[in-house]
């Protein structure tokens, strides 16, 4: 019972960080999405207390493990645009596949190339 209460409070904390982030983003007219600011709020809190409270860790791990579940409605929503998608079907399909592949290639190689340079240097010293 006590654990259930703690888990609920932990969830409220995540929701509060999210809402606070959205409010700050909206008030200041920032181009940064509110949820990203919410991540920074929670991270700041964890850094301040220098540990992850058990309930917060469990709720966060659970939600992240089931992130896919929360994206299902967005997947269902794609059906509303079936007609628009069908108009440019081939360009869309090729662009989605090729561009995703190229973005992964570019990001992955850039990461590894710079990691090799910087990490070799720090090992050599």
């Amino acid at each position: 019972m006590r654990l259930a209460g703690q888990l609920f409070l932990a969830f409220l904390l995540l929701a509060a960080c999210d809402t606070a982030g959205r409010l700050v983003s909206w008030w200041l007219g920032l181009p940064v999405p509110g949820t990203v600011i919410g991540i920074l709020f929670l991270l700041g809190g964890l850094v301040a207390i220098r540990r992850v409270p058990e309930a917060v860790g469990r709720v966060a791990d659970f939600l992240l493990a089931h992130l896919n579940f929360l994206y299902i409605p967005a997947g269902v929503g794609v059906m509303s645009y079936a007609a628009l998608l069908a108009e440019d079907l081939w360009p869309i399909l090729v662009a989605l596949f090729a561009s995703t592949f190229l973005a992964m290639l570019a990001a992955g190689f850039a990461f590894m190339a710079v990691a090799r340079l910087t990490e070799k240097r720090s090992r050599g010293e």
Binding site: L63, L64, P73, A95, T100, L102, M104
Partner: protein
């Protein structure tokens, strides 16, 4: 019409939303079972495996997608707190992330540029309409940001949202195969590339692979959202 009538409508909506959430949960559970039975392969993507039969159900029963979305909105709202949870693995892996700042910066700048430019170039080369191309450009960032960007540069926000989801599914399903093909074996590089190219759905997959991959993917998703939101409209002003 008394306030009783108003209350009835209210409960109707709640029950309807609850019903569709349960339906979604059921198909998600099935999708996870199928994925597990197939050895956890990314090809059996839970978003795809669960959304497809729900779409089939709505079409077969002639139910308006807006009715389904009553419950869907609740789940989409939950995405906010769930995404905030990325702070926890980020804190646990803080030293690891901090020591990779330079590789991340390079991958962010190059990856986000390639994600946008390649979509525009391919769309144009294959003769897609201007509106499609403009909606396609921000496909690699999370939904709310992509919708805002598409609106700003003259695309359709709702079509952009559909592209974002499809991009995420492509990235989550084929990411591991792409990395194998390209000999990318560094877990951090895999995660970061996944987050750049395939945002939240890619990140969901990355967390299925490992916490390190998920963390780097989450960080990349957040950074890419910011950079694309700042740079793409400027790019459009300059070359559009």
């Amino acid at each position: 019409m008394s306030d009783i009538g108003i209350k009835l409508i209210y409960w109707d909506r709640v029950f309807e939303a609850g019903f569709w959430i349960l339906v979604t949960l059921f198909f998600y559970y099935l999708a996870l079972r199928i994925q597990r039975a197939l050895g956890g392969t990314p090809l059996a993507n839970p978003v795809l495996l669960a959304a497809a039969p729900i779409i089939g159900l709505l079409v077969a029963a002639d139910i308006w997608v807006g009715d389904y979305m009553g419950g869907g909105q609740a789940l989409l709202w939950l995405l906010g707190p769930a995404t905030v949870g990325i702070a926890v693995p980020l804190y646990r892996n803080f030293t690891r992330v901090r020591s990779a700042l330079l590789p991340m910066a390079a991958a962010l700048v190059i990856g986000s540029t390639v994600a946008v430019i390649s979509a525009i170039v391919i769309g144009e080369a294959m003769g897609a309409s201007v509106e499609t191309i403009r909606s396609l450009a921000p496909k690699s960032v999370t939904t709310p940001i992509a919708m805002g960007i598409a609106g700003e540069i003259g695309g359709y926000p709702s079509l952009a949202a559909a592209f974002v989801i499809l991009t995420g599914i492509v990235g989550a399903v084929f990411g591991a195969a792409f990395f194998r093909l390209l000999h990318i074996r560094d877990e951090r590089a895999k995660g970061f590339a996944m987050g750049i190219a395939a945002h939240g759905i890619g990140t969901a997959r990355a967390f299925q692979e490992s916490e390190v991959q998920g963390t780097f993917s989450g960080v990349a998703m957040a950074l890419n959202g910011i950079v694309t939101a700042l740079v793409l409209p400027l790019l459009w002003l300059a070359f559009g």
